[in-house]
């Protein structure tokens, strides 16, 4: 099992990340990925993301280990950007490689639900000149919660 976790200001290339994940695991048959983008509209000018250096990486590593225990996986990559991002820019990337697709899809969704609800990131929105911290959403909590019952 390969695990890559990066918290970074820089953008990433999805093709390169998938290649890095699958090149060393010839048994991989399926790669499920997720790319989160800054959604335009509603006058949004930019998002600024902050994290807790050290704890964030550690928490994501723990979640990745948990996923690897639940499903038969060959690799996981998680990239989360921080800093100021404008509409259309990539924020988050999760790729899960496995022999079969069902495992790859489930683990990818599981990791995203946890990143959204448990990993220490905070988001600030700029609309026009005004800047405001984003409040946590209950729908995201519900998405993460469903994995407990399994």
């Amino acid at each position: 099992m390969i695990t890559n976790i990066h918290i970074q200001a820089e953008d990433f290339d999805v093709s390169d990340e998938i290649a890095a994940l699958t090149e060393e695991t010839p048994q991989t048959g399926a790669v499920a990925t997720f790319v989160g983008l800054v959604r335009g509209g509603d006058d949004l000018t930019a998002l600024t993301l902050e994290h807790y250096p050290g704890m964030t990486e550690q928490q994501i590593a723990r979640i990745a280990e948990d996923a690897a225990r639940r499903w038969a996986l060959t690799g996981i990559t998680v990239i989360h950007r921080v800093g100021r991002l404008t509409p259309g820019e990539r924020i988050v990337f999760v790729a899960v490689a496995a022999m079969h697709r069902a495992e790859a899809f489930e683990a990818c969704e599981f990791l995203m639900d946890y990143l959204k609800t448990k990993a220490p990131f905070w988001k600030q929105e700029e609309r026009g000149g005004a800047v405001q911290w984003v409040e946590a959403k209950l729908s995201d909590d519900a998405a993460a919660e469903r994995w407990r019952r399994r």
Binding site: G36, L49, E50, Y52, G54, M55, Q58, H80, I91, V92, M112, L115, K116, T117, K118, A119, P120, F121, W122, K123, Q124, W133, V134, E135, A136, K137
Partner: protein
Amino acid sequence: MNVLYFAWVKQKVGRGEEIVEHAPALRTVGDLAAMLAQRGGGYAEAFGDMTRLRVAVNQAHAGMDTVLAPGDEVAFFPPVTGG
């Protein structure tokens, strides 16, 4: 102890981290938060309603009744809003 602040907590208290000497009166996270709230100003705003805050001790999620020790890293922040 090293005390860290993130997101709007950091903005209200006007700093990202500070050293707070461990003391018998600061037995738990709740004691530390109450002491910080009593400083008034931005601290009172940030720590006035602890239900709005989350806390980690040594980079693990913790609660108001978590017991503190010298050298602990204590972080206060709002509920996370990642991805």
